[in-house]
């Protein structure tokens, strides 16, 4: 494997980690707000707080890791994406900042504001929407080079059906992933009411997920034929992913083995996410920037890879400890300690 491939694989893996962990977080906020609106707050609040409290900071680091690593492995992306993304990324940062800090203020400080719960839920929809724009931009067609500087065409971006399909997909994915995970968690906590409610949400969001995913593939045929062709070549990966999706829905429907259902979901998203990533290869920003012409020098690449391996040796045991204490500890999950 070339260093370029190692680099992008590592980053893609961490981005995937962020997508999954953050989706659970964002979705939970939305469900919480929704249940407050419909007067069922107490059913979900406990479950959601038990899971989220210890891990929110860790979620954030996944994102930081991704963008710092990106600039490290592919410095030219700082120039291209840094110039283009000033406005969308700033908005995303501000939302993330308000969300993160107010979460802490509310959880550890004072409790109560209803308005806050709604804002918190809404931000869980806006953040994935604004972040997913980056993926859309990377497909090309919205950026032109003027005087050696990349310029983003906002009008084209916001009137493109591709943009909106990706936004819808990101929202559906957030809600679906979150609902499936929390169903499992609530079930472990032996909270029957919460399990039933979350199970219902999971089933509701399964269909929009598939419809928007299919929609994107259709849009891409028009928008970026090269990418579309590469995706067709990997139809079997997407197919496999779809089979896993059916498995999850089946298990949830039958109220069986929620843990396994979440496992299948993880498999489904891993396959789809990586199949999408591989078909995107070799472009980081179509058609201006590829993995190869944006890559850092050999010396830095080797240093980063060594640092990464050393870092993982620290990280994996710590993450395992965190999960063991909060996710797999029966007493904690049930609220006994």
């Amino acid at each position: 494997m070339t260093h370029e491939l190692i680099g992008i694989s590592v980053l893609w893996l961490f981005l995937f980690g962020y997508v999954v962990v953050a989706s659970i977080d964002f979705g939970a906020g939305v469900f919480n707000a929704y249940s407050l609106l419909t007067g069922r707050k107490h059913i979900l609040t406990n479950i959601i707080q038990r899971y989220l409290s210890p891990v929110w900071e860790v979620t954030n680091v996944f994102l930081v890791f991704f963008f710092v690593g990106m600039v490290g492995f592919f410095p030219k992306t700082a120039f291209y994406y840094g110039t283009i993304l000033l406005v969308p990324a700033s908005i995303a940062i501000i939302l993330i900042a308000i969300r993160g800090s107010y979460y802490a203020f509310e959880t550890y400080g004072s409790r109560g504001h209803k308005g806050y719960t709604f804002m918190y839920g809404l931000s869980g929809l806006f953040i994935p929407a604004s972040l997913s724009i980056v993926l859309t931009i990377s497909e090309g067609g919205f950026v032109s080079i003027v005087d050696n500087q990349p310029v983003l065409d906002y009008w084209a971006l916001f009137t493109s059906p591709l943009t909106w399909s990706i936004v819808v997909l990101s929202l559906a994915a957030v809600l679906y992933i979150s609902a499936v995970f929390l169903t499992w968690y609530a079930n472990k906590a032996q909270d029957q009411k919460a399990t039933d409610l979350l199970r219902k949400y999971a089933l509701i969001w399964a269909a929009p997920l598939m419809i928007s995913a299919a929609g994107i593939i259709v849009e891409l045929r028009e928008h970026n034929a090269e990418h579309y062709a590469r995706m067709l070549n990997m139809w079997w990966l997407f197919g496999l992913s779809f089979v896993l999706f059916l498995g999850t829905v089946w298990l949830i429907w039958r109220r069986q083995k929620y843990g396994l259902a979440f496992g299948l979901l993880a498999g489904q998203f891993t396959l789809a996410f990586f199949a999408y990533g591989i078909s995107h290869y070799p472009y980081l920003l179509y058609p201006y920037l590829t993995l190869y012409d944006s890559f850092t020098n050999e010396a830095m690449a080797v240093a980063l890879i060594i640092a990464f391996i050393a870092g993982l040796c620290l990280l994996i045991p710590s993450l395992w400890l965190l999960l063991r204490l909060f996710l797999f500890d029966k007493d904690y999950v049930r609220g006994k300690s």
Partner: protein, 448 residues
């Protein structure tokens, strides 16, 4: 918006974000160490007060960490958004410590989560305390790594620039640049110092407000002792920083000291004004600059006359330097007198006016830290990478920076006010006296 505007607003936004982040970051680096020390003493002496101290500090700490994390995330992204040309170059040479920093964050974040939710989960309190080691280490290492990046901006090395192409890159040499040892040491130690004095100010404030509880007295004595140790270390390492400047960035030192002409046996000027090329109304300490720069009464110190006019930093950094050093000296004396006075049983260190000084010491130290950063960063101008890339060449060409500036200013306002309100409310609702009673009721009152 023209490109000059883009540079200008990018600067203002960077300054704003950094100045805001650094307050929370400094607390984030120093306070875990203080919590650890308090908890350790509590376990060793079997003294419930110190344990409670650790608990309460930890609770407040969560709030400051949250703001530190979100503003840091903003900062990390902003570096690429506002300075894309700089980051493209820097990414090639100095990405390694930046990348390592994220692992330090990971480590800190994971163990902080565990620490906060496991207060009563371990039979053995010591085990719980051990969880703080990775938190404190992670926080300090993130400061170390990011400061290495900043040191590199001051003394870039580890690559060759040939026809605008960077070649022969060596990431380790870039990391271990000449600015790194003093800069890293000074930043980390001042973070401990600042945190100690902030915590001391809180304890003194409670005592001033009429509480006479032994809890606050213990807290005050402990934090003042720590503050003394770290302020002495700060002054010593600050002196080394001056020597580093004399050797590698003489223009920064000369501008900070208003040292206009190269001369031997140079005096040090404190404050004053600069009029028609002469320093007036300043406190003059003979030979002191030669000592600061070279540890030698008669050594020659390079003056501003040796540099081209467009490479001299703004001269107002003189005041920033003076503010930093004066506050540093003042806090050393204040804490030394306090600790010595407690030992000797002097009454005046318990007087309200003395406690008033200690309360003021918290914000003052924060001002010293801000002044130090402004001095170091403005003193590097016009360069973003000293000698290699000018700040004006590094900025984005995007036309919307001014709008982003407004948005972020609003964000920091909300976060600043929010964190203060939440912190005061948190502690006011749950005073020490009440919490101690509650804990006694729980444990059965056989402790203390």
């Amino acid at each position: 918006m023209g490109n000059e505007d883009a540079v200008f607003y990018s600067r203002v936004l960077t300054e704003l974000t950094l100045s805001f982040h650094i307050i929370y970051a400094t607390i984030g680096v120093g306070v875990p160490l203080m919590i650890m020390i308090a908890q350790w003493i509590g376990i060793k002496k079997n003294d419930e007060h110190y344990i409670l101290l650790a608990r309460r500090w930890a609770r407040g700490f969560v709030i400051t960490v949250a703001v530190g994390v979100v503003t840091g995330t903003a900062l990390g992204l902003q570096l690429s958004l506002l300075w894309p040309n700089f980051m493209e170059l820097a990414g090639n040479v100095i990405a390694l410590p930046l990348f390592m920093e994220t692992f330090a964050f990971f480590f800190e974040a994971i163990f902080l989560g565990i620490y906060l939710y496991t207060w009563d989960r371990f039979e053995n309190q010591k085990k719980h305390m051990l969880l703080l080691i990775p938190v404190a280490a992670g926080a300090s290492f993130s400061a170390v790594f990011i400061t290495i990046v900043n040191a590199f901006m001051n003394a870039p090395q580890g690559f060759d620039l040939v026809d605008g192409q960077i070649i022969n890159i060596n990431p380790l040499i870039a990391m271990f640049n000449p600015a790194m040892p003093t800069k890293v040491a000074h930043v980390v130690v001042t973070a401990y110092m600042t945190s100690a004095f902030i915590l001391a100010a809180i304890a003194a404030f409670r005592l001033l407000k009429g509480s006479n509880h032994i809890y606050h007295k213990k807290a005050l004595y402990l934090t003042m002792k720590l503050g003394l140790i770290f302020s002495i270390a700060t002054a010593v390492i600050g002196d080394f920083s001056g020597k580093y400047l004399a050797e590698y960035q003489p223009e920064k030192l000369a501008a900070a000291e208003w040292h206009l002409e190269t001369e031997e046996g140079a005096p040090l000027y404190l404050f004053g004004v600069l009029k028609d090329g002469k320093v007036k109304y300043a406190i003059k300490i003979p030979f002191a600059l030669s000592i600061l720069a070279h540890s030698n009464l008669h050594a020659e110190v390079t003056g501003l006359n040796q540099f081209p006019a467009d490479e001299i930093p703004p001269l107002y950094i003189h005041y920033l330097f003076d503010i930093m050093v004066s506050i540093g000296m003042w806090m050393t004396v204040l804490s030394a007198v306090y600790v010595f006075g407690k030992w000797k049983g002097w009454a005046f260190v318990k007087a309200n006016w003395y406690r008033g000084f200690i309360v003021a010491g918290g914000p003052l130290t924060v001002i010293a830290m801000e002044a130090g950063w402004w001095f170091a960063e403005v003193g590097r101008q016009p360069w973003i990478l000293r000698g290699i890339m000018r700040t004006s060449e590094a900025a984005t060409t995007s036309g919307q920076v001014n709008l982003m500036l407004v948005l972020f200013a609003g964000l920091y306002l909300i976060l600043g006010i929010g964190s203060i309100v939440v912190l005061t409310r948190m502690f006011r609702r749950n005073p020490v006296e009440k919490e101690l009673e509650d804990r006694h009721a729980e444990i059965g009152g056989d402790l203390v």
